[in-house]
């Protein structure tokens, strides 16, 4: 009889918390590895088009120009597609100075190899892209990369 009586009700053993730091570190490392640093926060919708004839982009010599419709929280800028460089909307005339500045910030040996990455939403009118390209020609930044998502080859 006494064999059963011994079990008292509130006698649960404490859960060991010794492994908690490990779990936390694991999560930390995971997020450190998986996060992509984005240096400018996007104020526009940016669904990239698909292509399969793609080349890799060389980060060290690339500057980005974004374009697309302002996203939900920036509706006050209208619904027409806008151009974004770094963290601000810019007018078409501001592209050239921005390109010159970007060239200035590059390493000496890469200055004449600048590539402009165009991250343009696929719903944008291509007239806007033509305007951007015209400005780039005037700024003599002739290498352009249309950044796309990679579609699997059929």
């Amino acid at each position: 009889m006494s064999k059963f009586k011994n079990k008292k009700k509130g006698d649960l053993p404490a859960i060991s918390t010794a492994s908690l730091p490990d779990i936390v570190f694991m999560l930390l490392f995971f997020f450190m590895v998986a996060t992509v640093m984005r240096d400018s926060s996007l104020m526009i919708e940016n669904k990239l088009p698909d292509a399969d004839q793609v080349e890799k982009l060389e980060k060290d010599r690339t500057t980005f120009i974004y374009a697309g419709k302002p996203s939900a929280q920036y509706k006050k800028f209208g619904t027409e597609a806008r151009i974004q460089i770094n963290d601000a909307f810019v007018a078409i005339d501001d592209i050239q100075p921005a390109i010159y500045q970007a060239i200035n910030e590059l390493r000496e040996e890469l200055k004449d190899k600048i590539v402009v990455g165009l991250k343009v939403d696929k719903e944008t009118n291509s007239g806007l892209v033509s305007d951007i390209k015209q400005e780039l020609r005037e700024a003599n930044a002739l290498k352009v990369m249309y950044v796309t998502n990679v579609k699997k080859q059929q």
Partner: protein
């Protein structure tokens, strides 16, 4: 009368499990890299030189209107047929290039009403201002694919390897120049020079 408290779970191996998972994620996650279509813009030319007259048969006109419809050589076409049409045009080789050589490596139909030589064949893309960018890229992609297909075919015929593998090797050894490889890549690029012209959008 044995005291039967539940035994404590041994936590000593927890760290091992954690590290195992950590290493697993370290190995499997890839940081995404941007990719895209690289293109050179034409420099601004102020000189008043008359552009050379290009024969209509050497010009492959692609029109893309504001409703994203495609007109290729005066005929409506679906985007998925554009690649083959461009390959047929570039690879036709119906005549001679500027130096008077015939295209010995072309495998096209040698149709006298289509392009003379890949040297002379020009693809001209015109789009409206209101064409969607997605469609525009789709068309560009198909045209680049046509060039890549022909270059790859020649690379396999001449050097028995894919053109992409040659470019990859060049990119890997960008600091030590491999003259032979560069010369091979140049040869193939010269066989099918990328002549894609883009007109200013009209309306």
């Amino acid at each position: 009368m044995a005291k039967r408290a539940a035994p404590e779970v041994n936590a000593g191996s927890m760290a091992d499990i954690a590290f195992l998972l950590l290493i697993f994620f370290l190995v499997t996650t890839t940081i995404e890299k941007d990719k895209g279509i690289l293109r050179s813009l034409p420099p601004i030319d102020d000189s008043e030189i008359e552009p050379p007259i290009i024969k209509q048969k050497n010009l492959f006109t692609v029109l893309l209107n504001r409703h994203d419809q495609l007109l290729v050589e005066e005929e409506e076409m679906d985007v998925k047929n554009l690649r083959q049409a461009a390959i047929d045009f570039l690879d036709n080789g119906g005549g001679e290039n500027a130096e008077g050589e015939t295209c010995t490596y072309c495998r096209g139909k040698k149709d006298p009403t289509s392009s003379d030589h890949p040297d002379k064949a020009i693809i001209s893309v015109t789009n409206d201002r209101e064409t969607s960018y997605g469609k525009y890229i789709e068309v560009q992609n198909e045209l680049v694919a046509a060039y890549n297909f022909l270059r790859d075919r020649e690379a396999r015929r001449l050097y028995n390897r894919s053109f992409q593998s040659m470019l990859d090797e060049k990119a890997k050894n960008q600091f030590k120049k491999d003259e032979k490889l560069n010369a091979q890549i140049e040869t193939i690029k010269k066989m099918y020079p990328l002549k894609l012209s883009e007109a200013e959008p009209k309306n």
